[in-house]
């Protein structure tokens, strides 16, 4: 797909926002990246979700290095959590190729809203 100059500008601006959010909040940039892949690159949902990881990986590595250098990483809880995250990641990656319908998206949205409310109080 050939991108127009306007689309390239949108991509750069939204990606910069995704990068800042990911570095500042330690996550969340993927949601913006998936959205721009759907809206501007016109990828189908599954491809957008998978390819977004290709983008999020380098920017997460860079953000993690800054957190590490600034002394914000506590290795013991990080290692235990990573164990669970890797196991869950394998399950999630296998599930994506079988994912159908809109239900997962609605559940995910409700989980986000619940998480947001919880973190405010």
């Amino acid at each position: 797909m050939n991108l127009t100059a306007k689309n390239k500008c949108f991509l750069v601006a939204l990606s910069a926002l995704a990068g800042f959010v990911n570095g500042f909040l330690g996550g969340g940039g993927g949601v913006i990246v998936v959205a721009e892949m759907l809206a501007i690159l016109k990828l189908h949902q599954k491809y957008a979700q998978a390819t977004a990881l290709l983008v999020i990986l380098p920017l997460t590595v860079v953000s993690a290095i800054v957190y590490l250098v600034k002394g914000n990483v506590d290795w013991i809880p990080t290692l235990w959590t990573s164990l669970g995250v890797v196991a869950g990641g394998i399950a999630g990656a296998l599930l994506l190729s079988k994912l159908k319908g809109n239900v997962a998206k609605i559940i995910f949205a409700l989980v986000l809203i619940a998480g947001g409310i919880k973190m405010f109080f």
Binding site: S15, L53, N72, A109
Partner: protein, 138 residues
Amino acid sequence: MQVFLLILFGFLSGIVGGMGMGGGTVLVPLLSFLDIPQKTIQAINLVSFVPMCCVALGFHAKNKLLKPQNVWWIVLPAIALAVAGALVADMAQNDVLRYCFAAFLLAVGIWQLIVAVRFAVRQHRQKRNSSQSTRNAL
């Protein structure tokens, strides 16, 4: 008990993250149930995401789900601002980061819900229209 919860919360968010739906948006609020400062939670999320992402990408490459064309337009500006974001986070207070994350989750959650419900309504209408035209044809 905390070790069990860390693994469990990691596993649940890993499922979402492996699907490319934003595992951090699940892990960060879950870890906030434990007595861990917000900045440490964010660092846990970032570091734990790296090995999971490598494994998930391997599966997606095998399933031919990766479309890397034009990805550089996203990667380069995102990396530049990610460094800036991480540096600003280091200067910010834990409570400020926590409220910002909460506001971000609420905004994204409401937006995703609207998109998903709109999609469901459109699908329902299409289904109804196609069954009506089949009945008319009979």
